[in-house]
Every structure is written in structure tokens, then in C-alpha cells.
């Protein structure tokens, strides 16, 4: 049985702020189910003794010294903003979250 259904896809789409039509939801539910099932077969191949891989490159502790580098001016920061006011990004008030 597929681990992901149409409702799951609709839920994810909502969380990801992606608008999807009924047809798209149907199609993606099917496609994502195949992907999830495929991933499942990988976890079957790896036993409990194989740790999950989050990073394929065997590298750790890539650090930067705490030294100040370059910054933007307010004009540069806002140069791509759809709207700005007094040096700040102007965005619609989002009422359902705080």
C-alpha cells in the first residue's frame, strides 16, 4: 500500500504554499506514492547496522573564523524587493500566523 495518499499531498501542498488543482493532486498522489515506495526498497536493503546518510561526503567541521566580512548597504539589500519603506522590506500583514 502506498505510504502517501491524496490527502497527504494536499496537506503538503498547503504547507509548501503550492496551489494544486484536483487533477494535479490525483496525478501527484500516484507519482509520489511510487517514489515513496522506491525509497522504501532502499531502506529494506540497508540493515539496522547501516547508519542513515544525511551527507554523502565524509567531511565534518567545515568552519569559518569569526571575522567580519562584507555587508550590503540598505539600497543593495532592498534592490530586489517588490516593495520597501524606510530602509525595510514591506510585506503584506500575515494574519493567520504570529
Amino acid at each position: 500500500m502506498a505510504a502517501i495518499n491524496r490527502d497527504d499531498v494536499a496537506h503538503l501542498a498547503q504547507l509548501a504554499h503550492i496551489e494544486m488543482s484536483a487533477e494535479e493532486l490525483d496525478r501527484m498522489a500516484g507519482e509520489l506514492a511510487v517514489i515513496v515506495d522506491s525509497v522504501k526498497s532502499v531502506s529494506e536493503a540497508a540493515g539496522d547496522d547501516v547508519p542513515a546518510t544525511s551527507h554523502p561526503i565524509p567531511l565534518t567541521n567545515v568552519f569559518r573564523e569569526d571575522v567580519v566580512g562584507h555587508t550590503f548597504t540598505a539600497e543593495q539589500s532592498l534592490s530586489g524587493a517588490p516593495d520597501a519603506y524606510e530602509g525595510r522590506f514591506k510585506v503584506p500583514a500575515i494574519l493567520d500566523e504570529d
Partner: protein
Amino acid sequence: MTDATLSFEEAMDKYDPVLGFEVHVELNTKTKMFSSAPNVFGDEPNTNVNEVDLGMPGVLPVVNKTAIESSIKIGLALNCKIAEKCRFARKNYFYPDTPKNFQTSQYDEPIAYDGYLDIELSDGTVFRVEIERAHMEEDAGKLTHMGGATGRIQGADYSLVDYNRSGVPLVEIVTKPIEGAGSRAPELAKAYVAAVREIVKNLGVSDAKMERGNVRCDANVSLRPHGRERFGIRSETKNVNSLRAVEHAVRYEIQRHAAVLDSGEPVIQETRHWHEDTRTTTSGRAKSDADDYRYFPEPDLVPITASREWVEELRATLPEPPAARRKRLQADWGYSDLEFRDVVNAGVMDEIEETIAAGATATVARKWWMGEIVGRAKNADVDPGQLGVNPATIVELNKMVEDGKINNKMASEVLDGVLAGEGTPAEIVGKRGLAVVSDDGPLLEAIDAALAAQPGVADKIRGGKIQAIGAIVGAVMKATRGQADAGRVKELILERLGVEG
């Protein structure tokens, strides 16, 4: 709409509170967690940023080594285990405070875990708070809601965003559920946050100024009937950003929960917002899908490994823990247990230490902070350290008193002037015409009058009962409207009566 509340006493009769805290500590590194932009408070908006902080497409974060070291130090100071290996994760959500649409945080692998902190309450009782974890993350930008009721999102027309704070390194310290505090829960809440603030300040890893948001507390409160093991449903109060507010918010939530439970309704699991003006909380959003953050390992950052050697090196750099420091300071200052506890409970130990460092004696520093400043802070309803008295002012005022330029009563008046922003003590003394009458002429006149009015006392002093002098000094001070230097008056009286002092 105001929520119903029970009295705290009734709530305690019926229910047992369980607490939990998430304390966010902003690190005082020179640069951000993942970018080389400066970590500075209060500059021109959107200038302490670069492409990483603004979440530009294709940019790559690089971890600040000092921030990792600071985080390990915090973990060690909280008696935590330090993970040999941990990683960052993306916490996905859409909100304009985070231009990337995710916050880089840690999820299943925090850098520090399983610690504890022993909290000393005002009467000396020690209460152990277990630490679940301390993890690293980045701060978000600052939103200002415009239009509608000023500063509130309800009714706002639009919001303005400053990303200067975006990417500032944070360590979030999460407690395990705290049981058994009973009616001391509000006090414990305040003492716990104070202890965390003290630790990070002492470590030198954070400026630890709550009024600037360097240390921020979310307080979880739930109630259960006495004797029941299962926890009740909790609320999470955000925006609790002073020690007093932490205490008040926990107390208020206990009273509110008790009223909800008494009415037979279930408590709603939700975010509450703390309002300092009314000392109440209001409902924020209910926990919902918005909390489905779909964490996954951050692919742009490789894992962190903390070798035992590195951890031990860092452990060796840790300063004296605050509890040990308190013991030492008490011994250095020569305060009694009671005096010292009063100083700690009044929250002025650091201030006294700074004042002593600025040149005052331990006795003088305590006299000023406990005698003059704590009371004013209470009246102004702020923490004493936030009243705006700096150690140099106290040293200057005290010197004026010692030099006989002003007396204690005038010094108190000058302090009021300093707090009112009228200038330095010297300027205020000049402006207000405050100066001790040091010309002996008028003093001698007043002394002669006082001696003549109280011949019996004069005889006593002549007969060697020097302690009787207070009555004459008092009369002279009254006659000069407090403008005389009491020490000088004493000398002159003895001279006048031909008595050796």
C-alpha cells in the same frame, strides 16, 4: 476579552503545576551563525546583512567556529553531554521573518543534551531543573507591524522587515518537564531564567541583556489535579522578556488554567502572548498544521564532530561557575549570609561587583544599591540594573559625601536628578544649588543656639557623654535645613565645648 482566573492560592489548593522552558540565548559572536555579516544590535535596518542572511538563491552558509565553541561551553555549563557528532536541519515554514522559508536549526541531533541546573530559591532551597537539550540555530529578522493597533499584527495593514538580526547565532535551551515546584513555580521560573542568563553572561558568550532580546523565554505551563501523574494540556507563553515577566506570566497562566479546568472545559493547547501592560496573556494561534515543520538534514552544511580533546580544551576555559562565584564574592565583600542573600534576591549582585570595580568599597556599594536604588526600581517597576544608574555615578556621589561637599540626604536628591536625566552629579549639585554649608560662621551660630536651648545636653557632653551630641547635631541640621555637613558640625560642637572627640 478577559479570561477568568482563580486566585493563586485556590489554584494551588486544587492543582499541581508542571512547567517547561525554552530559553533562546543570542550569542555575542562578531559575525552571524552562517555568514560573515556583523552581529550587531540596533544599526540601520538591512545593513548588517549579506546575501546569505537575505536568503539569496544559490548562496551557501558556512558555520562560525566561535559560535560552535560558545554552544559547547553553554552545554558544559549546563552539565550536558556534548554530542560527538551532530548536524543541522531545516525547519520549514513560510513567514517573512525568514527570507529562506526555513530556519537552519538542529532537530534530532542537538549539540548538547541531558544536563541539569541546580537553582537556588530565595530562601536557600535548591531545586534541580533537568535540561533536555541545548541546540544551535539562527535568529530571524525583526518584523514591525504597521497600521491598525500599533505594533500588533491584528488589524495591521502591512509589516516592515529588518533582516539585521537574521542569522544571529542562537542556542535554544529546553528543559524537561519540571514537576514538584508547587506554589513556588513562579519563583522557580524566574530563578531558572535568571540562572541561565547568569551562566551565559558569566561564560562571556552572550551579552545576556533581556531588554534587548539577548535572552528570551517561552514558558510552558500545565496543571493537573493533585495526585495525578499524567500531565495536563499545556499553553506556551511567548514574548516573556524580563525576569519579572517570567514570574508573572507563570503565575497568571496557573490562575487562568485553573479557572478553565474548574469550568469543566479542556485547556486549549496554544501559544499565548504575554502583555506586560496588563500582566495577562491572550490567545495566539492554536497548535496546528503550521507546526508541521518537515525538518530534514541541512544538505548545505556538513556535520559537526566534537572530539573529546576539543571538548576538554573548552571545558578548561570555563570560568568559575556562578554558584562558586557567589560564595567567593560573599567572602570577598564580607557580607553576612542575610545581607548577601538580600543582595542576590534584589538582583543587584552584578551591579555591586561593577560598582566595587569602579572604585567603591563593598559597604558603600551595598549601601547605595540596597538603600537607594532597589527601592526606586521597585517604584518604577523595573529591575534595579535597568534603572539607569551606572557605577561611576555612585562612586562620584559617594566621593562628594566623603569629601563633605554634600550630605546623604542631598546625595539622594542628586541621584534623583541623575535618573531624571539632568546631568552628572557635579552638574546637578551646581544646578540645584546643593552644597553643604561649610562656612563655619553660620554653623557656629546654629550650634550656639542649639547649645543654649539644650543646656542639659551641653553639660552631659562636657561631662564626657559624647553620644548625647546627636541631639545638638539634629537641632543644627534642622536649623540649616539639612545643608550642613554632620561630621563638621560634630567637630565644631566638641571644639565649642572644649571636649576631646
